[in-house]
Amino acid sequence: MAHVTCCQIREKSSNELENILNNLHEELNTLKIQRQNFNKIENIRKSISHVHIVQNQTTKDNLREFYHGEKYKPKDLRPKQTRAMRRLLTPKEESISLTKTQKKKLAFPKRTYSVKD
């Protein structure tokens, strides 16, 4: 097995992925004992990381679906932004104003004038 790419393994089930992972690891072991085929070793290491990528991506996607619309999500599924931005007022909270000010705005909106030549 020369090289496992992410596209090849995205459709596989988690059990199959585990099997692939085990096989790759065992291959890696035998190669390391032989102390040869460094290119092949590199290929296998990359393949192992591809399998991990696919595993993690699928679990994360499934979890996002699972928590979609929930009020309380795990923190790593919430938008990351920056610490300060997460603590800002939401746009809705920003737009709240007193009825008094709303009335004022209606009564005295900002006028634009132009000078007539």
Binding site: L28, N29, T30, I33, Q34, L63, Y67, E70, K73, K75
Partner: protein, 199 residues
């Protein structure tokens, strides 16, 4: 409460009439108001029940009133002060609830990076390592530096299916950890080495 009382009295009197008339019982009365069937048998019993019901009513009333007052006022009047026999005050045990998290903080628990594949890097094939295999029934591995002896034992068991009698470790000058894994007597290191591919 007033009208209810009246109905009770009337029902009682009705009952009395019924039983003084004759025979059976409180079919009508009980239909009107639930009372104990046993209480409505004899005439004398009738008088007694009439009195009891009135008294009982008052009792229940005062009891209800008291309960209400108690709720409003709090239990100040009949609360007893604790007798303290020691000069020291120790913090009393209070309720400690278990955590009921509304969401897990991490969506997925962290993967164990030090699994048995990562622990054992490769076996050594130097001359002294070979000597160890033949003479001392031990295998020599280069091992992850963060692995400890019990972990190494488990990893060897998982990967190569052999039981280790003991594990000795040292950290080489180039920063790698070397593990001498002495196998149990019923395993032959030479066979295992052949099987693994060291020889």
């Amino acid at each position: 409460m007033g009208p209810k009382k009246d109905t009770k009295e009337t029902s009682a009197t009705a009952k009395k009439k019924d039983t003084t008339a004759a025979t059976t019982t409180t079919a009508t009365a009980s239909a009107k108001k639930p009372t104990k069937p046993t209480s409505s048998t004899t005439a004398s019993g009738k008088d007694a029940t009439k009195v009891v019901t009135k008294d009982r009513k008052e009792k229940v009333q005062t009891k209800a009133l008291k309960a209400k007052q108690r709720v409003v006022r709090g239990n100040q009047l009949t609360r007893k002060r604790k007798i303290r026999t020691k000069p020291r005050f120790r913090r009393p045990f209070t309720l400690r609830l278990q955590r009921q998290p509304k969401y897990p903080r991490r969506s997925v628990p962290k993967r164990n990076r030090l699994d048995h594949f990562a622990i054992i890097k490769y076996p050594l094939t130097t001359e002294s390592a070979m000597k160890k295999i033949e003479d001392n029934n031990t295998l020599v591995f280069i091992v992850n530096i963060r692995a400890n002896k019990p972990l190494i034992k488990q990893a060897v068991k998982k990967m190569y299916d052999v039981d280790a009698e003991k594990v000795n470790t040292l950290i080489r000058p180039d920063g790698e950890k070397k593990a001498y894994v002495r196998l149990k007597a019923d395993h032959d290191a030479l066979d295992v080495a052949n099987r693994i591919g060291i020889i």
